[in-house]
């Protein structure tokens, strides 16, 4: 029998029991009792954000870089509605976060009370699960259940809505062990017969490829280790989605680079030409597949995924394996070894010969310039000067994000945080703060475009207040670069509202926040400026003025298959038909 306590105290106790050490939040009327409890303890650190969207992205950055559940605390009404974008972002990228929101007291619900919103109604489609707790006796049990749901199976965001009177009332605390979790226990082990079928296929395949995704990262560090062992032992080429970068090291000899719309030529052509595709924790997203009808037409496909609804959703596969990536790879390796570690050596040798030819195209090549900084060059220098450091990278969304994925190499999982599924501009800056809070000594860089960065720039205040020395590496082309690129290719070069006018002076802005501002426009000054950014003990806003009209290549135009990639400007004339134009 535990003693009775208030709902507010329960919240803090439950967070402690769940091992939470930091909460990102913003106070308001409906969460004041919880803030009062936070005030009276020292175990949980509270990071005061400047906008609730920032809080949720920070929780995401924290979660993606640690593998733990991130936590955000917001008030009712606008506090909760501001959290919606972050929740949706976490849902699409399968990031485990728990958002606690205040609500008007139970007796006021439905009266259009001040700062009342139907939070569980609004957030239902953008959470894995959510709860409105109307009884203090159920509060701590629900919070424990929420953590269990967020981190189990395919991870995702959950929300617990807590009316103010429930925070004040007293009840008995339900410890973690007594919380309801038995009803949600997704299967981790894959079907052995299906795994054996996959092993049989990979023993004879002539042109196999591993296509890996965020599921490997979510499965944990051990899954990445198993993947590496599997790839090394078989000698199969491997490519990854945006979400899965780092699971296999970029320096690994079997690495083909990222695939997809702005993926590498060799990765996409290998996907198109393979005879066996082993999808490990990816979901055949439309950025990956291009035209479905012509997606990898001659391959047999294996799909390992913990979420049964991912199987056959867009691409019909031959061998579906439902289970956790780590568990399935472990079984697959064991079975493959027991059967004598067979691969089709002749076939593989020919396959690699073909891949080397594709690699020799050097698809990331760009026209260098001595006068202006090419965005690709900026990232190459950033990579060269920070490689080997204890480095974490977040990004905003757009061209810079794709260039970062192409030009930065990740050697370990959980080092790369980017908004993949939802494509949330404004994600990177708050996410970088969340990462830095989790890894205070590390070098955390947000690769940004100036337009995305402005969307949540208020969080520089948070970075200053909590001494998070995040480096904001802004590739400033004074354009909404990706929008501009599409308008050039699709809309007759009519650049409707895709330029950034009246931009702030980023150096002065940095000074206004009290941090360091750097501005570079000459390629010759770039290295020194990057080093100055790294060495500065505090947040930096790095305004890197880059070529304004650079397009991001390679590119698979919408509605086209993998083997119809554009490699450069010369390829772009009239390539996207009317059907492709309706796609995003």
């Amino acid at each position: 029998m535990t003693k009775a306590m208030t709902g507010a105290r329960m919240v803090v106790q439950a967070l402690k029991d769940q091992g939470v050490d930091v909460v990102f939040g913003y106070p308001g009327g409906a969460v004041l009792p919880i803030y009062d409890e936070i005030f009276q303890q020292n175990d949980i650190r509270h990071i005061l954000v400047r906008h609730e969207q920032g809080a949720v992205h920070m929780a995401e950055g924290y979660a993606r870089s640690t593998g733990k559940v991130g936590v955000a605390l917001v008030t009712s009404g606008p506090g909760a509605t501001n959290a919606v974008t972050g929740l949706t972002d976490a849902l699409l990228d399968s990031i485990p976060i728990v958002v606690l929101s205040g609500q008007v007291p139970t007796f006021m619900i439905g009266t259009d009370g001040f700062q009342e919103a139907d939070t569980v109604g609004i957030t239902r489609p953008c959470t894995k699960m959510n709860w409105l707790v109307k009884d203090t006796a159920k509060l701590s049990g629900t919070i424990h259940e929420a953590f269990h749901v967020a981190r189990s199976g395919r991870p995702g965001p959950v929300l617990v809505d807590i009316p103010k009177d429930v925070q004040f009332a007293q009840a008995e605390y339900t410890p973690m062990q007594r919380a309801r979790t038995a009803h949600y226990q997704p299967r981790l082990k894959g079907d052995i017969e299906a795994i054996t079928a996959m092993v049989e296929m990979l023993e004879t395949a002539e042109r196999p490829i591993f296509y890996t995704g965020g599921g490997v990262i979510n499965s944990g560090v051990a899954a990445s280790q198993l993947l590496r062992e599997f790839v090394e032992a078989t000698g199969f080429p491997i490519t990854s989605t945006l979400m899965g970068l780092g699971a296999y090291p970029a320096s690994g000899k079997s690495w083909l680079g990222m695939l997809g719309m702005h993926g590498l030529y060799e990765a996409n052509l290998a996907m198109h030409g393979c005879d066996l595709m082993i999808n490990v924790g990816a979901r055949f997203d439309d950025r990956i597949t291009g035209r479905l009808k012509d997606f990898s037409p001659n391959s047999r496909k294996v799909h390992i995924d913990i979420d049964p609804s991912s199987i056959n959703k867009v691409i019909r596969v031959d061998v579906p394996i439902i289970g956790d990536v780590g568990h399935v790879l472990e079984d697959a390796l064991r079975i493959w070894k027991a059967r004598g570690r067979k691969v089709n050596k002749d076939g593989l040798a020919k396959w690699w010969k073909q891949i080397k030819e594709w690699q020799s195209v050097n698809c990331l090549d760009y026209k260098p310039s001595e006068k202006t900084i090419k965005p690709q060059y900026a990232l190459q220098r950033l990579e060269a000067l920070t490689k080997g450091m204890d480095r974490y990278v977040t990004t905003e969304v757009g061209q810079h994000q794709m260039w970062a994925a192409q030009f930065l190499g990740f050697e370990a999982p959980n080092r790369w945080m980017t908004s993949g599924g939802l494509g949330t501009m404004g994600y990177g800056l708050p996410a970088s703060i969340g990462v830095q809070v989790a890894h205070p000594e590390a070098l955390v860089i947000n690769v940004a475009g100036e337009a995305s960065w402005l969307m949540n720039m208020q969080e520089m205040g948070t970075a200053m207040q909590f001494r998070a020395p995040v480096k904001q590496f802004i590739l400033n082309n004074e354009r909404l670069g990706m929008v501009r690129q599409w308008q050039e290719l699709l809309h007759g070069e009519r650049y409707s509202h895709s330029w950034s006018e009246s931009l702030p002076d980023f150096v002065k802005l940095a000074e206004a926040f009290g941090c360091k501002g750097l501005k570079v426009s000459d390629p010759r000054d770039l290295d020194d400026a990057i080093m100055e950014m790294i060495r500065y003990d505090g947040p930096v806003i790095f305004d890197c003025l880059v070529e304004k009209h650079e397009n991001c290549f390679p590119m698979i135009p919408s509605g086209k298959p993998h083997n119809e990639m554009l490699l450069g400007e010369a390829d772009t004339q009239g390539v996207i038909g009317a059907k492709g134009a309706v796609l995003v």
Partner: protein, 191 residues
């Protein structure tokens, strides 16, 4: 070039959503109607979550019935009739199955024979010959009179949705004013 064709048929139970559905042509474009029984936690918001899945992902709902069926275990049963291509129906089941408050999903259309029943109330107003004819037809359809005035009847009838449709057609020229239907409840036959 083309590898050995491993079809979904050869995949063993447990490795996929594995229903009899995998025996069909996955690429078929035929629209089929399926009756799904979904056992869920009887908690506020769960019905909205299930319905939201259908509207959010563009699936159809032809009929929907929900009530608590296990008070002790706090469970409700949702019976939903939906339409779609085989691939869409598979996807609906998988999406339902992965929801946290969903305990079981049964596709009564493919899991063997099932009984489907719906209850409907019909208000028919009329006088003279039409009134007598309505009563006579009601008898043939085994509909009960549950309310009666000098100008109207309310008939109660249970049956398949098709039976209710045909009764409604017959009543229309005889003064049908209103219909209330419960939607389909369904159970598999046998044990």
């Amino acid at each position: 070039m083309k590898g050995q064709n491993v079809s979904a048929l050869n995949i063993k139970r447990g490795s996929t959503s594995h229903s009899a559905y995998d025996l069909r042509d996955p690429n078929a474009e035929i629209i089929e109607s399926h009756t799904l029984a979904v056992v869920v936690d009887n908690e506020s918001g769960v019905l909205a979550r299930v319905i939201g899945l259908f509207s959010g992902r563009g699936y159809n709902i032809e009929s929907l019935t929900v009530a608590e069926t296990d008070h002790a275990r706090h469970l409700s049963r949702i019976t939903v009739v939906t339409t779609g291509t085989p691939a869409v129906i598979e996807q609906i089941k998988a999406q339902l199955g992965r929801m946290v408050p969903v305990h079981e999903v049964h596709d009564l259309t493919v899991e063997g024979p099932s009984v489907q029943r719906e209850l409907a109330l019909f208000k028919v107003a009329g006088k003279g010959e039409a009134r007598i004819e309505a009563l006579r037809l009601a008898e043939i359809f085994r509909a009960h009179v549950v309310d009666s005035t000098l100008e109207s009847f309310v008939f109660e009838m249970t049956g398949t949705p098709e039976k209710i449709d045909s009764f409604a057609e017959l009543m229309r020229p005889l003064g049908l004013k209103e219909i209330a239907r419960t939607g389909v409840a369904a159970l598999s036959r046998g044990v």
